[in-house]
């Protein structure tokens, strides 16, 4: 993430605990201004926690977040209305759409152009101001409410826009409007976008970088597949885990049999016919879906095996040559030594 400019965020040894349980640990991370960073990972992996910390909504248990080179904390006047978070279930205040969108501008001391700004923000998310501005908060659909909430953030012309699953519970049109409005903010004001999403079109088509989160650990760059525990002994120096369909995962012996392990997507080999190569592990699964990673031209393929979903990254020609389509049976081959352990201590 080196772009020459100093990072807009620099995180150092950041930890967040809830009730004695560690929810997030980020040793060191930097985010370049104007970047679009995607956060992917299962529910409970720490995405929302990371967004709330970066949005200075809550204080970390330990560690530091530098904003534009200086340490910042919640209620810091330097970050107020510069960094804004769109939560997963945005709350609309009990007032009109206009007043909801104007709220942040008014807090900052409304300028003479506040009405135009509210109208511009509403138009940016595809809501006609004449039709929507005077509506009360309860006369909106779920998708419209989400777009009003986004408009309230866009009206601030923020330097950083953090979005938590912005398109998870809205229809396709709203999702597209939200995506376009966020990207327009980046183009217009150089807004840094950080988006937690399960939406592949966000993660692989739009983002400059995708960070994978699992069990509170952040893995910057690259996609991975996570193998949750518990593991059992499988001969010398190896552990194994039985999948729901009776197949076995093999990994080099670790330290904690309940710990999750992971393998980088590039290390998974997909083939239509089983490969027999010495000590490698061969698993049979089904192709679930495919998506183009626009910035690299490669293709992400997910394969369902038992209860697991494996994510592989292939060159498009491999995909064509092998003729893999969703629904096809597929063999996944990997070397056990490529499996790494997540240090959950």
């Amino acid at each position: 993430m080196s772009s020459g400019k100093p990072p807009i965020f620099r995180i150092e040894a950041l930890q967040q605990h809830y009730g004695g349980r560690r929810a997030l640990f980020v040793p060191h991370l930097e985010i370049a201004p104007g970047a679009i960073v995607g956060l992917m990972g299962p529910n409970g992996s720490g995405k929302s926690t990371l967004l709330r910390l970066l949005g200075f909504i809550e204080k970390p248990s330990s560690g530091l977040i530098h904003f534009k080179g200086r340490t910042a904390a919640p209620f810091d006047p330097r970050i107020r209305s510069r960094v804004t978070l769109l939560p997963q279930d945005p709350y609309l205040m009990n007032r009109s759409v206009f007043d909801n969108v104007a709220y942040g501008i008014k807090l900052r001391g409304a300028g003479s152009d506040s009405v135009q700004r509210v109208h511009r923000a509403l138009a940016a998310v595809g809501l006609a101001p004449a039709q929507f501005a005077r509506r009360p908060w309860f006369a909106l659909s779920g998708g419209e409410a989400q777009r009003v909430a986004l408009a309230a953030r866009l009206a601030l012309e923020p330097e950083v826009l953090l979005m938590d699953e912005p398109t998870a519970s809205v229809d396709a049109e709203s999702a597209e409007r939200i995506r376009r409005a966020a990207l327009a903010a980046r183009d217009q004001w150089g807004t840094t976008l950080i988006v937690a999403s399960h939406d592949w079109s966000w993660l692989f088509e739009v983002c400059d970088a995708v960070w994978h989160l699992y069990a509170g650990t952040v893995f910057p760059a690259g996609t991975r597949t996570f193998f949750p525990g518990p593991w059992e002994q499988a001969g010398e120096g190896a552990w194994r885990r039985r999948l729901a369909d009776g197949q076995w995962l093999i990994a080099p012996a670790g330290t904690d049999p309940s710990a999750p392990a992971y393998i980088e997507s590039q290390k998974l080999i997909l083939s239509r016919a089983p490969m027999v190569e010495g000590s490698r592990v061969v698993l049979k699964g089904t192709v679930l879906r495919q998506a183009l990673i626009r910035r690299t031209g490669k293709v992400v393929v997910t394969v369902g095996i038992g209860e697991l979903t494996l994510t592989a990254v292939l060159a498009p020609e491999t995909l064509r040559n092998e003729g893999m389509a969703p629904g096809d049976g597929i063999f996944v081959t990997y070397a056990p030594e490529d499996v790494s352990w997540i240090d959950s201590s």
């Binding site: 209305s81 939560p87 945005p90 709350y91």
Partner: protein, 230 residues
């Protein structure tokens, strides 16, 4: 039970004929209870917000104490305030005994836990996302407090109505601290107590009905206000 009907007729006569004694009691009641409400809202809303919004060690115990104070006996408040503001008391020099401000002090103490407890409940029941939303839109601590109270305004209005009802209808404090002085500190409730003692049941009932009518008027105006702030 004829006195009930008599009372009803007499209530209308008292109101229509602008009976000065009745109006003096109405004025005293409205003055002391409104002053008490103003004080208890100013002191109670921030305290209620603080109690409802923050999580801290001992919160549960503190909530129990505040909830217990909801059933604070009016005569106990009257006794304590009397002790403080009587000539020998620590605040005796302020000359509050047997005055309407004196009654208002006691009634504010009575209303304060009601305002605090119901505001805390209203704030607690707000969506957790509200705080995240306000902060993500740039609210500082003061704006967070004001906007949260505004969002919880219907619950807080209910708190106000409940406290107002308790204050306006209490008799213990008004009697002990106010002294039931005709034309000065005689409120509706102390007047009713006096009339009952004199055996003038119909007049007592009439005054009771007038009090009920005032409560009704207060509630009607608050529900009008509620529609306005939607």
């Amino acid at each position: 039970m004829e006195f009930l009907l008599d009372g009803f007729v007499q209530a209308i006569i008292l109101l229509v004929h602008l009976d000065p004694e009745t109006y003096s009691a109405i004025r005293a009641t409205l003055w002391s209870s409104s002053a008490a409400m103003a004080v208890s809202l100013v002191l109670g809303l921030p305290a209620g917000f603080w109690l409802g919004y923050h999580n801290f060690y001992g919160k549960h115990a503190l909530r129990t104490v505040v909830d217990t104070l909801l059933s604070l006996p009016t005569v106990l408040v009257g006794l304590i305030v009397y002790a403080f503001i009587s000539r020998q008391g620590p605040l005796g020099e302020m000359g509050l005994l047997f005055t309407l401000p004196g009654i208002a002090v006691g009634q504010a103490i009575l209303a304060w836990p009601v305002v605090v407890a119901l505001t805390a409940t209203a704030v607690e029941s707000m969506d957790r996302q509200l705080s995240i939303t306000l902060r993500s839109l740039g609210a500082d601590r003061r704006q967070l407090l004001l906007s949260t109270l505004w969002e919880a305004r219907f619950g807080i209005l209910a708190a106000g109505v409940t406290a107002y009802g308790r204050v306006m209808t209490e008799v213990g404090i008004s009697m002990m601290v106010g002294g039931n002085i005709k034309w000065a500190t005689r409120t509706m409730t102390t007047a009713i107590a006096l009339e009952t003692n004199k055996g003038m049941f119909a007049t007592g009932v009439a005054l009771g009905l007038v009090l009920l009518a005032i409560a009704f008027a207060v509630n009607v105006s608050l529900s009008f206000l509620r529609r306005q702030v939607r």
